[in-house]
């Protein structure tokens, strides 16, 4: 019997929401790690019972958690994230050099082939890898060390490596994104990296088309076309058809092209979802109407999806890791808000309903398709 497991990270704990394939009735488990910021929970595509969670707090720092039973029980694993060698400095908000300082893990990306291998994206931006199920972590320091690292600057939310995409076809290729450095690609399994920001334009930086310095909020890929990526930037929705070598804008008729999330339908590689947010200071939907926008043409032509979503007095935000899709037929789409709601659509976005309404502010949403 098929079903889904939705993994929700919030400011005060993690929640696990499960349902059968109809995705109408939900069981809610949690809060796990109550009181802690859970930036991300994600499962292994190889062993769906293997989950990893990033648990952090201002008091006690970073703890990493692992489950081997689908989130029923958890055990702490290694939490030592040491920058390789002499970490050096990056740029601070005022342009001065600032030492690299580990703050937290923003994103976890389990390997496509091994449940004991998992990548972690950290703040201050760096990529770590574990091959022993989270017991120990090593930095893939070629990313910070490729040459532009000293010019990276934080965005208002911190200098975070928030997105990790693993190419399912070319296993040596990965994409990552950093606020506010930009997108990067490796073609040799993480040893060396290059910025892939050609075509991005950011008015708020001294050189709007600089090699690095763009605040990329999220990138998304469909597994059938790993050369095609979609990007939600700090203003602009972008697309590349050549693995990031060049980008073009596909914002089209969106009411605003600011936002955080972007994702791709599991079965239709040209069907893309975003949640437009009014502006970089007004982090809420335009006109108080919470709407997901869907393009079925790979961008440029967008339609508003609002059935079941609040269309009045709604001023929540949807953070960059808080949208996900399942692989059931029809593709389910999910997103969580800073108001504590998690919405689900079992029909590709045509209709929505809240799974839960009153969680702590949602930071991340992932979905596992269980068969």
């Amino acid at each position: 019997m098929s079903g889904v497991r939705v993994l929700v990270g919030t400011r005060k704990g993690a929640f696990v929401l499960t349902s059968d394939g109809k995705r109408q009735k939900w069981d809610v488990s949690g809060p796990h790690f109550g009181g802690w910021e859970i930036y991300h929970v994600k499962g292994s595509p190889v062993d769906p019972n293997r989950l990893y969670a990033s648990q952090s707090s201002g008091w006690f720092g970073q703890v990493m958690q692992r489950s081997s039973d689908g989130g029923k029980t958890w055990e702490p694993v290694g939490n030592k994230f040491e920058y390789d060698g002499v970490p050096g400095t990056h740029q601070w908000y005022d342009g001065t050099p600032h030492p690299w300082e580990f703050k937290r893990v923003w994103h976890l990306e389990p390997s496509l082939t091994d449940p004991d291998t998992v990548y972690a994206g950290a703040e201050d931006a760096a990529l770590f890898k574990s091959t022993d199920a989270g017991q120990t972590w090593q930095e893939l320091s070629g990313l910070r060390g490729h040459g532009s690292g000293s010019r990276w600057t934080p965005g208002a939310g911190g200098m975070c490596l928030h997105t990790i995409l693993l190419d399912p076809v070319n296993r040596a290729r990965m994409f990552i994104a950093i606020s506010a450095a930009g997108a990067f690609r490796t073609d040799d399994a993480g040893k060396t990296w290059q910025p892939i920001n050609q075509g991005l334009r950011s008015q708020h930086i001294p050189d709007p088309t600089a090699e690095v310095g763009h605040c990329v909020h999220r990138i998304a890929m469909h597994r059938s076309r790993p050369n095609v990526l979609f990007m939600q930037k700090h203003w602009d929705v972008m697309r590349t058809d050549d693995g990031g070598d060049s980008w073009r804008e596909v914002s089209g008729n969106l009411p605003t092209d600011f936002g955080f999330v972007i994702d791709v339908n599991a079965h239709q590689p040209d069907t893309v979802y975003v949640v437009p947010i009014k502006s970089d200071s007004e982090h809420y939907p335009p006109d108080g109407k919470l709407r997901v926008y869907r393009s079925k043409t790979g961008g440029n032509e967008w339609e508003a999806l609002s059935n079941g979503l609040p269309q009045k007095d709604c001023y929540v935000n949807v953070l960059r890791d808080a949208m996900a899709v399942d692989a059931l037929d029809k593709c389910g789409v999910y997103f969580g808000t800073t108001g504590g709601q998690v919405y689900a659509s079992a029909d590709e976005g045509d209709n929505w309903a809240p799974i839960v309404r009153d969680l702590p502010a949602v930071v991340s949403v992932e979905v596992q398709t269980l068969t």
Binding site: G58, W59, F60, G61, Q62, V63, P76, N79, K80, F81, E82, F102
Partner: protein, 81 residues
């Protein structure tokens, strides 16, 4: 939560925390920063009604702590968030 740990040699802030982390490895990195070994800023150390937060790590702890009559306390900031 109160636990007991055994410390060999001089009983200092550092040696007590070393023993605590050895007994409870999950606490590593949560009281002292991994890189610097410094107390995490939102935590404070107390013993015998004294704030030891700014004492050097090799400061000897009071006899009452050594004997187990009084605890060495690690206290998180009460401020919200």
């Amino acid at each position: 939560m109160e636990v007991s740990v055994s410390v060999e040699g001089r009983v200092t802030v550092r040696s007590v925390l070393d023993a605590l982390e050895a007994a409870y490895p999950v606490l590593r990195g949560t009281i002292r920063d991994y890189g610097t070994g410094h107390r995490r800023p939102f935590l404070r150390f107390f013993a015998c009604e004294q704030d030891l937060s700014h004492e050097l790590p090799d400061t000897l702890l009071p006899d009452a702590v050594v004997s187990g009559a009084e605890p060495f306390m690690v206290v998180g900031a009460i401020s919200g968030g």
